[in-house]
Symmetry: C3
Subunit: 429 residues, 3 copies
C-alpha cells in the first residue's frame, strides 16, 4: 500500500461534510407526508406528493447527473474530469442548497415579520427537487471554467455559487414574487453569467492558446456528449413543469416540448447556413436545447402554443449564431474562454426568456381572463407584475456577475490554496 496523501483538500472535504451532517441533525426534520409521527392524513399527503412530483423529480435527477455529466464530456481528453467532477460537485451542491435555501427563506421571513420564530427545515420531496435546481446553477457555472480548474477549485466555487444562488432566489420568489417556473432567470441567467465572469480568473489567454490542442472535441467525445444532450432534451419538460401541478404543469410540459422541437430545427438550419452540409456538432449538441431555457420563465404562462414554438425557434437561432459567430468573436475581442459555451446556451437565452416573460405577463389579463389571479399574484396589475419580472432578471444578472467576481477572486488560478491546474494540464485528465 502506497502512503496516504493527506492534505488541504481532503481535510476540507471531511470537515465540510461533518458540518453538513451536524446541521442536518440540528435543523432538519421529515415533514409533509414523510413525517414519522404523522397521522393518517400525513400518509395520504405522502401518497399524493409522490404521485404528483416523484416522476418529474427523477427526470430532473437524470438531467443533473447524466444530462449535464455527459454534455460536458465533449473534451477529448477530459471525460473523467468532466463527468466525474460533475458527479461530485452536484452531490455537494445538493447538500448545501438544502441548507442555504432554508436559511435565506428564514431570513426573509424574519425580515418581513420579526416576531416569527425559527422553523426547522422540512424535508419532503419538494426539498430535494429544489436541491437539484441548485445543482443545476452550479453545473452551468462549472461549464464555463471546465478543464481549467481543479476539483478543489470547483468545490470552492460551488460554495460561493450556492450562497448567491439561494439568496437571489429568495429575493426573486419571496420579495419580487416573480414567476419563473423553470428558472430561466435564477438558474440559467445567474449560472451562466457567474461562470462567464469567473473565466477571467482562470488564465483565459493560455486557455485560448491551448498549446496542446486538448480543448477540442473529437468524433467519439461528441457522440458521448450527445447522450447528455438527448437526456436534457427529453426530460426538460419535467424540469420546467416538475414543481407545478394541474393546468400550469400541463401547459409547462407541452410548451417546453414544443419549444424544444423548434430550437432543434433552428439549430440545424443555422448549422447548415454557417457550416454547410456536414452537421456542425457543437451547434446541434448545445443550441438545440435553447428552447428549454426559453421556456424556463414562460412555460406555464404562455396560453397559446405557437408562442412557445416561435420563442423556441428564435432562441434556437440566437444560441446557434452564438456558437457559430458571437462566441468566437468574443473570444477574439475580449479573451472570453467559455469552455462549454454556457453564454450561448444559458446566458443569452436566459436573458431573452426573462424579457419574454415580462411581455407575456403584460398581456396576462387577455390570455387568462378570469383565471388571472390563479396564475399570478392577484393583487398586482399585469404591467406591475411585468416590472417585477424585469427586476428579477436584473438581480439574477447582478448576483451572477457579482458572485462570479467574488468566486473568481477567491478561488481563481492566481490563488495557490485551491490547487490550481497548471496551464500544461489544461483540458487533460
Amino acid at each position: 500500500m502506497s502512503r496516504l496523501h493527506l492534505g488541504r483538500a481532503p481535510l476540507t472535504y471531511i470537515i465540510c461534510q461533518i458540518i453538513v451532517i451536524l446541521f442536518f441533525g440540528l435543523f432538519t426534520e421529515f415533514k409533509k407526508g414523510a413525517d414519522p409521527h404523522g397521522g393518517p392524513h400525513a400518509e395520504e399527503v405522502g401518497v399524493e406528493l409522490i404521485k404528483n412530483h416523484y416522476a418529474c423529480f427523477q427526470d430532473v435527477h437524470i438531467m443533473i447527473f447524466v444530462g449535464f455529466g455527459f454534455l460536458m464530456c465533449f473534451l477529448k481528453s477530459h471525460n473523467w474530469g468532466s463527468i466525474g467532477y460533475n458527479y461530485l460537485v452536484a452531490c455537494w451542491a445538493i447538500q448545501i442548497t438544502i441548507l442555504w435555501s432554508h436559511f435565506w427563506k428564514q431570513v426573509i421571513a424574519y425580515y418581513e415579520d420579526p416576531s416569527r420564530s425559527f422553523e426547522k427545515l422540512p424535508l419532503t420531496i419538494e426539498t430535494i427537487l429544489e436541491a437539484e435546481f441548485g445543482a443545476a446553477a452550479v453545473l452551468i457555472s462549472m461549464g464555463a471554467i471546465l478543464g481549467k480548474c481543479s476539483l478543489f477549485q470547483l468545490f470552492a466555487m460551488s460554495n460561493f455559487n450556492v450562497f448567491f444562488y439561494t439568496l437571489n432566489r429568495a429575493i426573486v420568489f419571496q420579495i419580487f414574487k416573480a414567476t419563473d417556473i423553470g428558472e430561466s432567470m435564477t438558474i440559467h441567467t445567474f449560472g451562466a453569467y457567474f461562470g462567464v465572469i469567473s473565466t477571467w480568473f482562470y488564465q483565459p489567454k493560455q486557455a485560448i492558446e491551448d498549446k496542446h490542442e486538448l480543448g477540442k472535441s473529437n468524433y467519439l467525445s461528441d457522440l458521448v456528449s450527445m447522450t447528455g444532450t438527448l437526456f436534457l432534451f427529453v426530460y426538460w419538460p419535467s424540469f420546467n413543469g416538475g414543481a407545478a401541478s394541474g393546468s400550469k404543469q400541463m401547459r409547462a410540459v407541452i410548451n417546453t416540448y414544443i419549444s424544444l422541437t423548434a430550437s432543434v430545427i433552428a439549430s440545424i438550419i443555422v448549422s447548415r447556413i454557417t457550416k454547410g452540409r456536414k452537421l456542425e456538432m457543437e451547434i446541434v449538441l448545445n443550441a438545440s436545447l435553447a428552447g428549454g431555457v426559453a421556456m424556463g420563465s414562460n412555460a406555464d404562462i404562455i396560453a397559446k402554443s405557437y408562442g412557445a414554438m416561435l420563442a423556441g425557434f428564435i432562441v434556437g437561432c440566437v444560441s446557434s449564431f452564438g456558437f457559430a459567430i458571437i462566441g468566437p468573436y468574443l473570444t477574439k475581442k475580449i479573451n472570453l474562454h467559455d469552455t462549454c459555451g454556457v453564454h450561448n446556451l444559458h446566458g443569452m437565452p436566459g436573458v431573452i426568456a426573462g424579457i419574454i416573460s415580462a411581455i407575456v405577463i403584460s398581456r396576462g389579463g387577455e390570455n387568462f381572463g378570469d383565471n388571472y389571479a390563479l396564475n399570478f399574484d392577484g393583487t398586482r396589475s399585469p404591467s406591475k407584475q411585468a416590472g417585477f419580472q424585469l427586476a428579477a432578471l436584473a438581480t439574477s444578472l447582478g448576483f451572477g456577475i457579482f458572485g462570479g467576481i467574488v468566486s473568481g477572486l477567491l478561488s481563481g488560478n492566481h490563488n495557490p490554496f485551491f490547487e490550481p491546474v497548471p496551464v500544461d494540464h489544461f483540458f487533460d485528465d
Copy 2:
C-alpha cells in the same frame, strides 16, 4: 467568419417551420386540463392526466430520441448521421404528426357527419404522446435507408411518411375500430414496409457492394448501439401501455414485459444455433426486441400471460432467423438493402402481431366474459372484430407499400433536388 451557405435545404426548412408555427397559431388550443380558461374541474383533470400518462409519455420520449437514436449508431462511421438525423427528423415528425393527425380525424368525422363544424386541435398530454408515435413510424422507415440518404431526403421522406401514417391510422382506428394499442400494425408494419420499399430508390446494388466497407459495425459501435436496444427494451411496456388505463394498461405492461424476456432468450438461442458460442451482436441487438412488436396489437387483449410469453418467443425466433438467414437471402435474391434490418425487427413481427390479434380476438368471448364490451366494440361479434383486425393489417401494409413507392419516387437518389448522397459517401459521416 466564412461565407453563409444558403440554399434549397435551409430555405425549405425555414419555410416549413414558419408554416407549422402559423398552423399552430391558427388551429390549436390548450384543452382538457391544460386550458388556461378552465375552471377548478379542468385543474383536476390536468392533475389526473399527468398522473396517468406523464411517466409513460416520458418513457416513450426516451425511446424515440435515445432508444432509436443509439440503436441506429451501429454503423462504424455514421454515428453522427445516425443519432443526429434521428434527433432532427423526430422533432420534425412530432410537429407535423400533431397537425396531420387532427386533419384526418376531422376529415373522417366530417365524412361521417357533414353537418359537424370544424374543431380546433386540442393540445393535451395525449396529443404529444400521439406525436411520439408518429415519430416512431418515421424512424422505422428511416432505418431501412440509413446511411444512403441525406438529411434533406429524410426531411422529404418524413413528410410523406407522416401523411400516410396519419391517414392510415385514422382509417384503422376511426372506421375499422381495430384494436392496436401499441400499434404493431399502424406503426411497425406500416413503417417497416414503407422503408423497405423505399430502399430500391436508394441505389441498393451499390449499397450492397459497399466499396469502402463502411456499412458495417465494429466493436465500439455495437456497444453504443446496445444503449439504444436496452432503453427500447426497458421502456417498451410504456409504449404499449401508455395510452391505456386501468386493467388494460396493467395487462399491456405485464404482457409486453414477459413477451420481451422471451424474445431476448429466443435471440440468444438462434444466435447460438446459427453462429456458435460467440454472441452474434446484430441478432441480440435487434431481434431481442421483437417481443415488444409482437405485443403491439395484443398487449391488452391477451388474458393469459403464457400467450404473451409464447408469442414473444416465436416472434423472437422469426426475427432472429430473419437477421441470420432471411435478410441475407433477400439481399442476394432481390437486392434488398435494409440497413438496420427493419424488415426483420418491425416488418415480419408486425404482420405476425396483426394476425395473432385476429386470433386472440376471435376467442375474446371466452377470455373476457362479461367484460367483452369493456375491451372491444360491444356492437360487434368477436369474429367480425377479428375480420376488422385483418383489414387493419391489410391497409397498414397497403399504405406502407404505396407510401414507400411515392416517397422513393419523389425523393430517392435519382432526384438531385433533395441533395442525394454520392455512392462514395454512403455510410460515412
Copy 3:
C-alpha cells in the same frame, strides 16, 4: 448459410424456456387490477397500482438492464460479454424468480396452515417489481465471476441463485417478518457472498495472474462504466422506495438520496487520500454507490435524515477502503479474485446495513412513537424485532455462502458440461 451449431447449451435453453411457458400457462393468472374478469373496482385498483408503482418499477428496470449492464462494462475487452450476458441472464432470472418466489411463499403458507389450498400465482405490477429484485441478486453474484465464465455457466448459476434467493427471502419476510425494504440483506449481502464464494471455483489463481492483461479497465471502458454508475445512483431511491407507499416511501426516497450524496463525497475523499489528486476511477465508479446499499434495510425506518447521511458517509468510506486496500489484500492473502469488487460494494455495506437496521429498530419506540405499529410488527417489542433483523442477516449470509458453494461445485470451471472458458480467453469477448 453455415451449418447449425446445435448442442447442449441451446437445447437446454429451449427446454427450460418451454417449461417456463408451461408453468406460466398452468399456474399464473392476472389479478388485482390486471384481472380481465374484474369489475369496476378492479379497474380502480389497476389505476391506483399503476400510479403508485409504475414509475418506480421502470426506474428499477433501468437499473437492472442499463445500470448493472454498463457498470460491468469496465473490462477493456469484455464489453459484449458484460452487457450482453447481463441482458440475457437478467431476462432469465426475471422469469424464474416469478415462479420460484410464489413456490416458496406457498410452501411457507402451507407449513403455517396445512389446510390451505394452493393459490394461483397472481400477476400484477408488484410481481414484476419483485422479479427485478431477483435479477439484481443474480447480477451481483455474476459481478464476482465476470469474465471467467461462459454464458452457459451463468445460466446455471442464475438457476441456483434464484432458488436460494427466493427461499431465503420467504424465510426473512414471512417467518422472521424482518424489515428490509430495499433488501440490503436479502439481495446485496446474499448476492455478494454467493458470488464471492463462487469465485474459488473459477480458477482464481489464473485470473489473478491475468496473463494477457485483459482483466483491467481502460479510459474508454471506465467512461462507459460510469453510465451504469450514474443510472444506479439516480434511480436507487426508487429501488429502496418502490415497493412502499405513503410516508415510508417518501422517507425511503429522501434517506436514500441523502445517503448517496454522502457516499459519493466519501469515495472522493478516500480516492484522494489513497491515490492522490488524480481521480481513482474504480473507487468512484463503485464505492460512491455504497450509500444506496446502506439504506436498503434502513431507508424507511430512519426517522432523522442526518442518520442516513452519516450512514452513507461511513459505508462510503468502508467501501472505498475496500477497493483501495482490503480488496487487494484479500486477493494477495486468500486468492480472492472478485472481478467487479462486489464484496466491497455489496458485501461489506450489506452486512453493515443489516447491523444498522437492528440498532435503528431497537430505538424504534422513541423514533416512531404512536406510529410504531404502523411501521413494524406491532406484536413485537423493538428489541425482539432487532433480534429478527440479525437473524435475517445471518440467514442471508448463510444462504449466500451455501448457495455459492453449491453453484460453484456444480457449474464451476472444473465441470466441462457448462462450457467453461479456457484460461486463455478470460476477460476476452
